[in-house]
């Protein structure tokens, strides 16, 4: 565990970058430092590997003051990823990744073999091994940056706005990749960003810092979204925090109805019996085909090409309430289609029913994060 204990950084000109900050970074999890520019988040990160020395306070790594270790040893035990990757332009990709193992005295062959392994782990084609950084895209360079930081298998990973210089699509890919890698490797990651969405998506714990380097709130993303500590945090979270909070609520408890689901070969009685305003027509395997009003459906002669599109379905349990609500909002009928993992319809649910589920979840104060991808 990394314990930041009432740390202050004051520069000679009197500027206070970090003000009596205390924070416990749990092992094998992603702790995100987030805040507007000038909130001291990068300074805090850089104090952990002693790129910046605190004016007051101590930082403990597994109970030991980080100042008691030689600074190069300390840094070699922490992977370091920065905004523009900071790759060495004169070295090939494989040599960039092998840098720390080589510094630690590994043989050339072993270091290069390890580098090739890491390229695969971060989703880089090994055919890029002998290229130079300028020949790679920004996203690829950032993957190399992550691979280089992981090369010597350090227990701690410090990441300073690693994904902010790439476009949103590539950024999402890199974020997903980081979560996947973290699932496999279980590093203690401290991650700095100014993007609250990124913080909520990646963080196990999120520390919101305000100008002047003071801690505004330190909580899990779900807690942050449901109970912001003050107006600053609330503003920083943005206008749609209620919606985003739904990412942490499971859709498993939604009450599905099958009354409005009819197969394409349904009888006239079956169509008439449902009583629903819209009916979802499924193929013989149970996969959704589209919506129609009961009056438009003629038994035995259902024209599947005339049906309204059924929209994107959700998987109860695997998807969050946010996804379910999104499906309902985007559906032409206002009803969301629920399917199982095989894509077969298990029922439909209305916006109203989702709204009730949200109210019920809030009432229970339950934040079921397990198994729900934000």
């Amino acid at each position: 565990m990394i314990r930041i204990d009432s740390v202050t950084k004051r520069y000679p000109d009197g500027t206070v970058a970090v003000d009596r900050l205390s924070l416990d970074v749990p092992d094998r999890s992603i702790t995100v430092l987030v805040g507007p520019s000038g909130c001291g988040k990068t300074t805090t990160l850089r104090m952990i590997n002693r790129m910046v020395e605190p004016t007051e306070g101590t930082i403990l790594l597994d109970g030991e003051d980080i100042r008691r270790r030689p600074v190069t040893d300390l840094r070699r035990s922490m992977g370091y990823v920065i905004q523009n990757a900071g790759l060495f332009p004169h070295r090939t990709i494989v040599d960039n990744i092998a840098t720390v193992p080589r510094m630690l005295g590994w043989g050339r062959q072993r270091a290069r073999k390890r580098a090739a392994e890491l390229m695969e782990r971060v989703g880089l084609d090994t055919s890029l091994a002998e290229r130079y950084p300028y020949q790679l895209s920004g996203g690829q360079q950032q993957r190399v940056g992550v691979a280089r930081a992981l090369a010597a298998d350090p227990p701690v990973l410090l990441m300073d706005e690693p994904f902010s210089a790439v476009d949103p699509v590539v950024r999402k890919g890199l974020q997903d990749e980081l979560l996947r890698i973290q699932e496999e490797l279980g590093k203690t990651i401290v991650f700095v960003t100014h993007d609250i969405d990124e913080a909520v998506k990646l963080g196990t714990m999120v520390a919101v810092l305000r100008e002047g380097g003071r801690l505004a709130q330190y909580a899990s993303p779900a807690e942050l979204l449901s109970a912001p500590a003050d107006g600053f945090v609330e503003d920083f979270l943005g206008a749609d925090r209620g919606i985003r909070r739904l990412s942490f609520l499971s859709s498993a408890a939604l009450e599905l109805t099958t009354d409005a689901v009819v197969p394409a070969d349904a009888s006239a009685e079956r169509i008439a019996a449902s009583g629903a305003r819209y009916l979802l027509v499924t193929d013989p395997d149970g996969r959704p085909l589209g919506w129609a009003e009961p009056g438009e459906l003629i038994a035995g002669d259902i024209r599947t090409d005339r049906l309204l599109p059924h929209g994107r379905p959700f998987v109860p349990g695997a998807d969050s309430l946010r996804v379910a609500l999104d499906c309902a909002v985007l559906s032409p009928t206002g009803w969301a289609v629920a399917v199982d993992a095989g894509g077969r319809v298990t029922g439909v649910v209305s916006q109203q029913a989702i709204g009730e589920a949200i109210r019920a979840a809030h009432a229970r104060g339950r934040t079921d994060q397990a198994g729900v991808a934000p």
Binding site: M51, R75, N84, L87, P89, A149
Partner: protein, 221 residues
């Protein structure tokens, strides 16, 4: 016309190709002066430029010294040094080194300063020692610029080393000084041509050195 005629006459005269005043001998002397002066100037300018560039300290003092050194006329300095310490190789080396240090020093300093700070930050953050950051990260990235500083220093030495002849030493300046004294313009033009050719060869050597020493990753952009 005249110049080409002189050049042709100078190089086709068999007497100019052997003996202590022959072209091979004078060329060899000139190259020796050049290499010695360049080695001394590099030994002074390169480490100082690298260290000041890395730390970022002393940049102003550096610019002051370099400009002052540039303002010194090489020939005047040669005469002064000879008056002070007499004839020999040393009085020739002093003005040549004074001439060559500023371009090496200033270019090296600027080259290291202008290295992208991100790789340096990354190197430091992964626990690289400062000396290693300088030699393994900053130097290779700054190398094209550093080589250009060495190249202009080398070219200036090649052309200025002719002053050695004024203090009774050898080198290609011998032809120019003696030719002027003897009103033998064939010799003057021949000597000047050889100096020009040597300068071009120097350019070629530095081009080849750049191809060999600079990483394709730095050259490629």
């Amino acid at each position: 016309m005249n110049v080409l005629h002189f050049i042709n006459a100078f190089f086709s005269d068999g007497a100019h190709w052997h003996g202590y005043d022959g072209i091979p001998q004078r060329l060899l002397e000139h190259v020796r002066y050049t290499l010695l002066a360049l080695a001394l100037a590099t030994a002074i300018g390169l480490p100082v430029g690298l260290v000041t560039g890395h730390t970022g300290r002393g940049g102003n003092a550096l610019a002051f010294v370099a400009n002052a050194a540039r303002a010194l006329p090489s020939f005047g300095l040669l005469v002064l040094v000879v008056l002070l310490i007499g004839f020999g190789l040393l009085p020739v080396m002093i003005p040549l080194v004074v001439l060559a240090v500023p371009p090496i020093l200033v270019t090296t300093y600027e080259a290291v300063r202008s290295v992208d700070p991100s790789p340096v930050d990354a190197a430091r953050g992964m626990g690289m020692r400062e000396s290693r950051i300088l030699l393994r990260v900053e130097l290779p990235v700054a190398l094209p610029l550093i080589l250009s500083g060495l190249r202009s220093a080398a070219i200036q030495i090649v052309s200025t080393a002719t002053i050695a002849a004024y203090v009774s030493l050898g080198g290609l300046g011998r032809y120019i000084v003696d030719g002027l004294y003897q009103r033998d313009y064939e010799k003057v033009v021949g000597g000047a041509t050889l100096v020009a050719v040597l300068a071009l060869l120097t350019l070629a050597v530095f081009w080849a050195a750049g191809r060999l020493a600079v990483s394709p990753g730095v050259r490629g952009r």
